[in-house]
């Protein structure tokens, strides 16, 4: 059953690819604007790289959240999904997973490429990939709570930002910390482990909160 919901969301995303590409372009543009704006001073670029990559990932993720449930809510498919004899928890896990594959994985893939503009070493670029791999699912999971709570509300985008950004801060701190450690020649492992722990916590609690929020929004 999980297969069906993931497959469904993947096909739908493929048929509306422009939405998905927009998030990717946003990420690339934001990250690339900094070296252009600040100048080629390598030391400075290396200092800001961790924050810039992670803030861009965060903002791009937030922009994509409307797509998670919004479309289904508007055409009435969301309530159909909630009326199936499947635990809402699993449905949420499936949708969030598909959303992550479509909205966040492209960021993870492109990040080392745009990271080259910051004069980072190969090792650091690898850490960027791992850090994003561990952190972006958390962004999708936490973001799904905000998306579910603000369904159908008028200023949904602004509200999602207010709800979700504070919860994103730990992800930002640990993620950027991992990259920074690597740039400084230290081991990124402690930060990556913290990211992994956040991921486990998010995987356990977020879908439950999101499905409760969905039931409220659909009422």
């Amino acid at each position: 059953m999980l297969r069906w919901i993931v497959w469904r969301d993947l096909i739908l995303a493929w048929r509306r690819r422009t939405d998905v590409l927009a998030t990717l372009f946003f990420f690339v543009i934001v990250v690339s604007l900094y070296p252009l704006g600040i100048g080629p001073e390598v030391q400075l670029l290396r200092r800001i790289a961790p924050g810039v990559v992670w803030v861009a990932a965060l903002l791009a993720s937030m922009l994509s959240l409307g797509r998670l449930f919004g479309n289904d809510y508007q055409d009435g498919s969301l309530e159909q999904i909630l009326l199936t004899p499947q635990p809402a928890y699993l449905l949420v896990v499936g949708k969030v997973f598909a959303h992550w594959l479509v909205s966040e994985i492209p960021l993870v893939v492109i990040a080392p490429v745009v990271g080259l503009q910051f004069g980072l070493s190969e090792n650091t670029l690898a850490i960027i990939v791992v850090s994003l791999l561990l952190g972006t699912p958390v962004l999708s999971l936490i973001g799904s709570i905000g998306a579910a709570l603000t369904l159908g509300l008028r200023s949904a985008n602004v509200l999602v930002a207010i709800l979700v950004l504070p919860l994103y801060v730990p992800v930002l701190i640990f993620g950027a910390g991992a990259i920074e450690a690597s740039i400084g020649g230290l081991s990124a492992k402690p930060y990556l482990l913290l990211q992994a722990a956040t991921l486990v916590l998010a995987m356990v609690f977020a879908p439950w909160a999101t499905s409760a929020a969905l039931r409220i929004s659909v009422e």
């Binding site: 469904r8 739908l12 009435g76 498919s77 159909q80 009326l83 199936t84 004899p85 635990p87």
Partner: protein, 203 residues
């Protein structure tokens, strides 16, 4: 099998209805009549379990539906005012995916048979956004055919349908009732079904 006990519903400050009681057994259907805004859709959503009533409860075979949760959802099929179909998918995909998500796997062949029954076989490979309103409604109704649900909860099922479509819908519902099914229908026009015990509610 389905019982509504002392249901009351409020929309904001307004009390839409209160003290509503009825029960529905196999082979019977309930028509909820009322003008726009009288609470027909709200009643249906309470029966589905999507909304909680302001007071009272709904019971399925003696147990509160709140308690049954997903077990109850397995017994119902809801066709809302909105069709719940995806514009980007064609009818075959729409049907197979919505069944698959519900845990009911339909092969391509089976889906095509269902679509033929509702008169959509020529359109089966067109994305749903290219279908007319009546065709989309037929697609929404096709889900009922593919579902094992015993209770059909229908909100204005004849909306957007032409005469053929309306006849088709009536036949589908009548057949369902003849097979020991049940239905609750919100409508502003008489259903005139050829089978089933009817009950009426005026909201």
């Amino acid at each position: 099998m389905l019982e509504a006990v002392n249901l009351s519903c409020a929309r904001g400050e307004r009390r839409l209805f209160s003290g509503l009681n009825f029960s529905l057994a196999a082979g019977s259907f309930l028509q909820a009549f009322g003008p726009n805004g009288s609470g027909k859709t709200s009643l249906l959503r309470i029966i589905c379990g999507l909304t909680a009533p302001a007071a009272g409860e709904v019971r399925w075979e003696g147990t509160k539906i709140r308690r049954l949760g997903e077990e109850y959802f397995a017994q119902i099929a809801y066709v809302a005012h909105q069709n719940g179909i995806k514009d980007e998918l064609d009818p075959v995909e729409n049907l197979r995916i919505s069944c698959g998500v519900a845990g009911n796997v339909l092969s391509k062949r089976e889906a095509q048979v269902v679509l033929e029954r509702v008169g959509l076989s020529k359109q089966k490979h067109l994305p749903a956004r290219l279908l007319s309103a009546g065709q989309r409604r037929r697609l929404a109704l096709s889900r009922l055919l593919a579902s094992p649900a015993r209770l059909w909860i229908l909100d204005e099922p004849l909306a957007s349908l032409d005469d053929d479509g309306a006849t088709l819908a009536r036949n589908l519902i009548s057949e369902h009732l003849s097979n020991e099914g049940m239905a609750i229908i919100a409508t502003h026009q008489e259903m005139s079904l050829s089978a089933g015990q009817m009950q009426r509610i005026e909201l």
